[in-house]
């Protein structure tokens, strides 16, 4: 298969490094508005050609798969152009600014018998895969409640989201900079709580001097299988990203920034011993995770982007075999329908 990429910035490095390792996939071209950025990415990752005009690239290369890794506010229009050129599309999150745009992408993909895959990559990180397996095996019983919480200092000095000089491109999206992270939160809630029946978002601005319309977000969701609470905080410290699933027989917490999975079970021992056994398990898990985290940092490779690499690998594998990709169209629609409800009432950028 011939692959091409539009937008040679930070996240493109992960896409290109992963594509370069896939058997049977040729990186045919890279495109960026900056000639230097396109040229160096092509040189670094062995692309045959580079372009500064994505339409010229699509026409000259006729790729099978196009990766859209440009800034978020142009994902939709670039994905439309790639689908119109008859390509499958792997698009960074958010694939679209609204559910209506997401549906339009799906309609265009369906019309051309192509796939559009949004990078809901944390679904494929090891702790989440293990958590999903626990749920499938019924180890936690029936799911009751899901908590997805991201604490990330996007207001720190030097953060592109809080650039005092020019506004970050995400600020035009409903929800502002937090909208850049909502697909992660929403896709995890969707995966564990199911399609939503009702959802409400609460948006707050704790730092009045920040350029963001909101710097705190909370969401409450009633899903088909469980309820979910979503949190994005720019102020809570330290940085963390956790998913906790509480079921009728146990509770499991997956850490994503510092990967780990801690399981609290109802054990077949006298009740007073349960906290002690769960505590021992948690301690062992924390020590093992700290060691693995250090090895991960020293060993290079995808690090926290392991889920993205896995998603891309599985997507190419599915496309090659004519199967449904791992993030399907139903999920793309469901996640963006949830995001639409969560951002209803979010303040716009001033």
């Amino acid at each position: 298969m011939k692959a091409a990429l539009i937008g040679a910035g930070h996240i493109a490095r992960q896409h290109l490094a992963c594509v370069g390792r896939l058997p049977g996939v040729e990186l045919a071209a890279v495109c960026d508005l900056s000639p230097a950025a396109a040229e160096i990415a092509a040189e670094r990752f062995g692309a045959r050609r580079w372009f500064t005009d994505h339409r010229a690239m699509l026409s000259a290369i006729t790729p099978d798969v196009v990766h859209v890794t440009a800034p978020p506010h142009v994902h939709y229009e670039l994905a439309v152009d790639a689908l119109s050129a008859g390509c499958h599309v792997i698009v960074e999150k958010p694939a679209a600014a609204t559910h209506a745009e997401a549906l339009d992408l799906l309609r265009r993909a369906h019309a051309r018998a192509r796939c559009v895959v949004e990078c809901q990559n944390y679904l494929f990180n090891t702790p989440i895969l293990r958590l999903r397996q626990l749920c499938r095996d019924g180890a936690l019983g029936e799911p009751v409640h899901v908590e997805v919480a991201m604490f990330l200092d996007i207001l720190a000095a030097g953060s592109p989201f809080a650039d005092p000089h020019i506004p970050h491109p995400t600020l035009v999206l409903p929800g502002g900079a937090i909208a850049d992270f909502l697909p992660h939160l929403a896709s995890l809630a969707y995966a564990f709580a199911g399609p939503h029946r009702e959802a409400h978002g609460l948006w707050a601005k704790r730092d009045p001097s920040s350029p963001l319309p909101s710097d705190e977000f909370r969401g409450l969701v009633e899903g088909d299988r469980a309820t979910a609470a979503l949190c994005f905080s720019s102020h809570g410290r330290p940085d963390a990203f956790t998913v906790q699933v509480s079921g009728t027989r146990g509770r499991a917490t997956a850490g994503l920034f510092e990967p780990r999975l801690v399981v609290e079970r109802m054990r077949r021992v006298p009740r007073p011993l349960v906290p002690a056994l769960n505590g021992l398990h948690e301690g062992r898990t924390a020590i093992r995770a700290a060691g693995q985290g250090l090895v991960r940092k020293l060993s290079g490779g995808p690090g926290g982007y392991e889920g993205l690499w896995r998603l891309i690998e599985q997507t190419y594998s599915a496309l090659g075999a004519g199967r449904q990709p791992p993030v399907g169209h139903e999920q793309l629609s469901g996640v963006h329908r949830l995001i639409d409800d969560l951002v209803a009432g979010a303040p716009a950028v001033r």
Partner: protein, 332 residues
């Protein structure tokens, strides 16, 4: 001559504005939209608020100038952010200059572009620079950005007939901007000085700024590359002693032979690669390519600015130290 200075609100930029002003040029100081815009030593300076990431901003900034001194660059952030800011900004500046028919550019590059692993014992303007993508990636984001910034400027110069001068300053220093990262490693109260006798490629900020100002108006500087390093050799050991004696900083110097330090870095890399393969990562001080770029003992030729510009550094090391630490905050 009307000169646009990008990055005018920065550490070197404020001094370049002053040096150009002193030499009688009309200066347009480009500062970022929310950046500092006060130039008390140069009251007649024309301030333009602009961001190199916005084409429309850059077009306003270059309109009506005769020359550009391009200092703005990213010094922090990840490699891709540095590249987008520094190289992308330079691309936009070059395009705007072409449209506005501005044909003179003085570009602030860095001695970071040199391939320190391939240089024997003396660094000159003709020493090899880092070229291959693998070597660039081993050296990190700042070097990648500076090499590519030079590359796009030289291409524009060849293509559009731009009169280009590439300036490669050494360690630009002033109060609070001492080149400690190029001297060694601090461990609590101890200042480990790697290769204590090696000369440092120092340039006192006012000397460096004056050299930029001299180059801007010099026809002979067109198509030249100039290392900007002060004449007087100052060892890492001596600089640290003066710094500890004159500044409020505390601590003791500990000499560490260069051979011992670089061997430690090589051993760390070998061990890491044995454990994790070629993709292994280490802190930069334990990465031999980074280590050599920061600490390798070399001597430095300083004659080309004199030969091309007829320029001599106004301040000796001793005088620069006096100006720096006897006037606290003067260079902040």
């Amino acid at each position: 001559m009307k000169v646009l200075v990008t990055g005018a609100g920065g550490f070197l930029g404020r001094h370049v504005v002053r040096a150009l002003h002193r030499r009688g040029h009309d200066v347009r100081a480009m500062v970022r939209p929310a950046g500092r815009a006060d130039f008390p030593d140069s009251p007649s300076v024309d301030v333009v608020r602009a961001d190199l990431r916005r084409t429309e901003h850059v077009e306003v900034a270059v309109d009506g100038v005769d020359a550009v001194v391009h200092l703005a660059a990213a010094v922090g952030g990840d490699q891709d952010l540095q590249f987008a800011t520094t190289v992308g900004g330079t691309e936009r500046l070059l395009a705007a200059m072409k449209r506005a028919r501005v044909a003179r550019l003085v570009l602030a590059s860095s001695i970071a572009v040199y391939d320190w692993e391939r240089i024997g014992d003396r660094l000159t303007e003709d020493s090899p620079t880092v070229e291959s993508i693998n070597d660039l990636d081993r050296r990190g984001g700042y070097t990648v950005s500076k090499v590519w910034q030079e590359r796009v400027a030289r291409r524009a110069s060849e293509r559009d007939g731009l009169a280009l001068t590439v300036m490669r300053p050494g360690f630009v220093w002033a109060a609070g901007r001492e080149p400690l990262a190029g001297i060694g490693q601090r461990l609590g109260p101890l200042h480990l000085v790697f290769g204590p006798r090696r000369p440092l490629p120092l340039t006192y900020v006012e000397n460096c700024a004056d050299c930029f100002a001299a180059a801007t108006a010099s026809a002979a500087a067109a198509q030249q590359t100039l290392n900007v390093i002060d004449d007087e050799p100052v060892s890492a050991w001596r600089f640290t002693a003066e710094y500890l004696r004159r500044s409020p900083a505390q601590g003791r110097r500990v000499p560490v032979p260069y051979a011992l330090a670089v061997t430690s870095a090589r051993l760390a890399q070998r061990t890491s690669r044995a454990a994790f393969g070629e993709s292994a990562r280490l802190p930069s001080i334990l990465t031999p390519a980074h280590f050599e770029a920061r600490f390798k003992p070399l001597s430095f030729t300083t004659g080309r600015p004199r030969a091309v510009l007829g320029w001599d550094a106004p301040w000796s090391f001793e005088a620069a130290m006096d100006r720096t630490y006897d006037r606290p905050g003067a260079d902040a």
